[in-house]
């Protein structure tokens, strides 16, 4: 059971998927010879050739648009968007085409395209490299949106995303790329948890904390800290953003009576609002406190020097936990 950094786990997952299915192609800017700016595709062009790992021209609409055409003939393109802030040139292709062609064709056209997007901050980068745009994709029907928080999930979820008959936007937490974790590579796709299920990653009775991608580790750190004060947090790794696994969270909240949602994206219009609304609908009479959200301010993501003030940290999570308990 190898111990892999998250980036390497995705690399391994891509490799496995490419070995299993010759229709899996990788496309993107600098993913071939360079192996991607985060080296997630390192070595794959060398081993699978230029026909299966394509260094495309620099044009995101072009990447997604041609991926759609490839998918129409049975390919399963996995497109790398180099950084979160550069997905927008492709937004038209994603929203009006990739997401809708299945419905427009009454299910006759299937587009098993995966868009890999590194997201989130904390790596000291410059502007447009640390944003969290997942809510913009979740609102668009026809897309599936997921994000792994650990190496094990990264390895399996990328394979599940590729195997999915639907387009999947696969967000990769930049600041967790180098975090290591055990990966059970001997299992099979059928054995592992389904792509669209949240997972309780720590049990606790006082407050449920829901997080995804980069904030899962943060939530776990907060849980450690809270435990020292005698407060037991239950941490849910959402894993899937669209569809949201509201059931798993609701089950937890019915026990704890309290929920804090943590993400890096601005709270305003973010995924936390949706989860808060849904949980409040489902668990109204169990709620001892309003669902609280911890997230980014409604600001352009600020570059390296100021990001520590922007990013939700353990203190902010604990503060929300306290406010929840005080209600």
């Amino acid at each position: 059971m190898p111990n892999l950094p998250l980036a390497k786990a995705i690399n391994a997952g891509l490799r496995t998927a490419m070995e299993r299915d010759p229709k899996v192609l990788l496309m993107g800017e600098d993913i071939g010879r360079l192996g991607g700016v985060f080296r997630v595709t390192e070595g794959l062009q060398k081993d699978f050739g230029e026909a299966r790992v394509l260094d495309t021209p620099l044009a995101e609409a072009g990447i997604v648009g041609t991926a759609i055409g490839l998918a129409l003939r049975g390919y399963r393109p996995v497109c790398e968007i180099q950084f979160n802030g550069f997905v927008y040139p492709a937004f038209n292709q994603i929203v009006t085409q990739l997401a809708k062609l299945r419905a427009r064709s009454q299910g006759r056209l299937e587009l098993p395209v995966v868009l890999r997007i590194p997201f989130g901050g904390g790596i000291g980068s410059v502007e447009h490299h640390s944003e969290s745009p997942e809510a913009l994709f979740a609102h668009v029907s026809g897309l599936r949106v997921v994000t792994p928080a650990t190496s094990a999930d990264a390895y399996w979820m990328i394979q599940q995303a590729i195997a999915s008959p639907d387009p999947v936007v696969f967000f990769e937490p930049e600041r967790r790329y180098w975090d290591k974790g055990q990966v059970e590579t001997d299992a099979t796709l059928a054995d592992v948890a389904p792509l669209h299920r949240a997972r309780v990653v720590r049990r606790g009775e006082h407050v449920t904390v829901a997080a995804y991608g980069p904030t899962v580790r943060l939530a776990l750190e907060a849980a450690e800290a809270a435990a020292e004060d005698g407060t037991q947090l239950e941490v849910v790794d959402l894993r899937t953003i669209s569809p949201l696994d509201v059931g798993t969270v609701a089950e937890s909240v019915r026990r704890t009576g309290r929920l804090v949602v943590v993400h890096e994206a601005p709270t305003f219009g973010g995924v936390g609002g949706e989860l808060a609304a849904r949980i409040t609908e489902r668990c109204f009479y169990s709620l001892e406190a309003p669902v609280l959200r911890v997230g980014g301010f409604h600001l352009p993501y600020p570059a390296a020097r100021v990001e520590e003030h922007y990013l939700p940290g353990v203190d902010r999570v604990l503060d929300a936990v306290d406010r929840s308990l005080a209600a």
């Binding site: 109204f284 709620l287 005080a326």
Partner: protein, 83 residues
């Protein structure tokens, strides 16, 4: 769920709203599970004497009235408990 920490600190929100706006809320203030408890016990929240922070009705307030040893004040707008 735990009552301990909740009693240690006043709930900021209702207190803030009531104090901040100077407007006496017209509704009985209670969190949803307390509302449910009252309903399950057949207690009219408006009859409950509210002792929670910011004039909120607590679970205990409901139980007190339900157990027959409380005297409702009828308007549910008891002064905010001392913080």
């Amino acid at each position: 769920a735990q009552a301990g920490p909740a009693q240690a600190e006043p709930a900021p929100e209702p207190a803030g709203e009531a104090a901040g706006t100077g407007v006496v809320p017209e509704r009985v203030l209670a969190k949803p599970p307390v509302r449910k408890l009252a309903r399950d016990l057949g207690v009219d929240l408006a009859q409950v004497r509210a002792t929670g922070p910011g004039g909120t009705v607590t679970r205990e307030d409901v139980l007190t009235l339900a157990n027959g040893n409380g005297n409702g004040n009828g308007n549910g707008t008891a002064p905010a408990a001392a913080a």
